[in-house]
């Protein structure tokens, strides 16, 4: 697939020696867009590294480490849903090498059960959903999750009214 991994039969321009093409000498005129720092990403990457390296049987039974494909998919899911100010989620491995991503805040709870790439059960519980919450099956579009996270970040309206 494209990116720094060359799946075609020659090495991409951005990399070293190709069989049939070579990069120009001199500094190219590039437009570099600096991506804003997402504070949640480093701690999530560190935690994910731990989870893909779990020993088999980590749960006391036959628990498998989080699958590499699931880890990559989950990170891309978070990249799509979590902006720069999203709170850092907590990551919990499943016994089958799957993964659950959770936020627990004053405004509500969100749990994303990443069962496989393109197979996510998204659940949240807030004051508006009631105690059982609401659950939605998602594949590759996480706009809904982004809106849920945005609601978690909204300031509470329930303060400062008791002074009257």
């Amino acid at each position: 697939m494209i990116g720094s991994q060359a799946n075609s039969a020659y090495t991409r321009l951005a990399e070293s020696a190709a069989t049939s093409i070579v990069p120009f000498r001199g500094s190219p005129k590039r437009v570099t867009i600096c991506e804003p720092v997402r504070g949640w990403r480093d701690p999530v990457m560190e935690r994910m590294k731990q989870l893909v390296q779990l020993e088999r049987g980590w749960d006391g039974y036959r628990g498998a480490p989080v699958g590499f494909d699931i880890a990559h998919f989950a990170l891309r899911m978070l990249d799509a849903a979590c902006g720069v100010d999203a709170p850092t989620p907590q990551l919990v491995p499943g016994s089958d090498g799957d993964l659950q991503i959770e936020w627990h805040t004053e405004r509500g709870d969100i749990e994303l059960d990443v069962r496989a790439p393109n197979d996510v059960l998204a659940w949240r519980r807030t004051a508006s959903t009631g105690p059982d919450g609401e659950e939605v099956a998602l594949t590759n579009d996480f706009s809904l999750v982004a809106s849920w996270i945005a609601e978690l970040l909204e300031p509470s309206c329930a303060t400062g009214t008791a002074a009257a």
Binding site: L51, L54, G57, W58, D59, G60, Y61, R62, G63, Q90, V92, P93, G94, S95, D96, D98, Q100, E102, H104, T105, E106, D109, E111, D113, R115, L121, W123, D132, G133, E135
Partner: protein, 148 residues
């Protein structure tokens, strides 16, 4: 007394069943790893709902240890289930699980001859109910067993 062997399919795989050798007051132990803990909105550590999920695949349930089988082998239950080191565990009563519609079965495996399975519905609301049913058996200090 060892439990009667469980029913198996043609491939030798244990099929979901409710084992009569596991009585209603017998303990069903579920091991809990540090990796399965989360912090709630108040900073309190709890067990994640993910810890109460069945495995995928045919005939798969939620892995447990059967207290009666361990005792029947003359072993100390708390010592037996605390493997690997530092792992905690919660306990259900088999009867309480069955009242919720679950089957509690025996599924010995080479690495754990006292291994059992709980079969049934592990949808999210059901997992929260399971958290309400269990109590710490080998507690992890500072961690609540019930869901928020």
């Amino acid at each position: 007394m060892p439990l009667e062997p469980p029913p198996r399919d043609r491939a030798g795989k244990v099929v979901p069943h409710d084992h009569t050798g596991v009585g209603p007051s017998d303990g069903v132990i579920r091991r809990i790893s540090e990796n399965q803990l989360v912090t709630d909105k108040n900073g309190q550590r709890r067990i994640s709902s993910k810890a109460f999920q069945a495995s995928s695949g045919p005939n798969a349930g939620m892995s447990v240890d059967l207290e009666c089988s361990i005792i029947g082998a003359g072993l100390d239950v708390a010592t037996y289930v605390t493997t690997p080191r530092w792992i905690g565990s919660v306990r259900f009563e088999a009867g309480a699980l069955r009242q919720e519609g679950y089957q509690v079965g025996f599924d010995p495996i080479p690495e754990n001859p006292h291994h059992g399975e709980v079969w049934g519905d592990f949808g999210r609301s059901r997992r929260r109910r399971l958290q309400q049913l269990c109590v710490w058996f080998v507690p992890i200090p500072g961690v609540l067993a019930e869901s928020a």
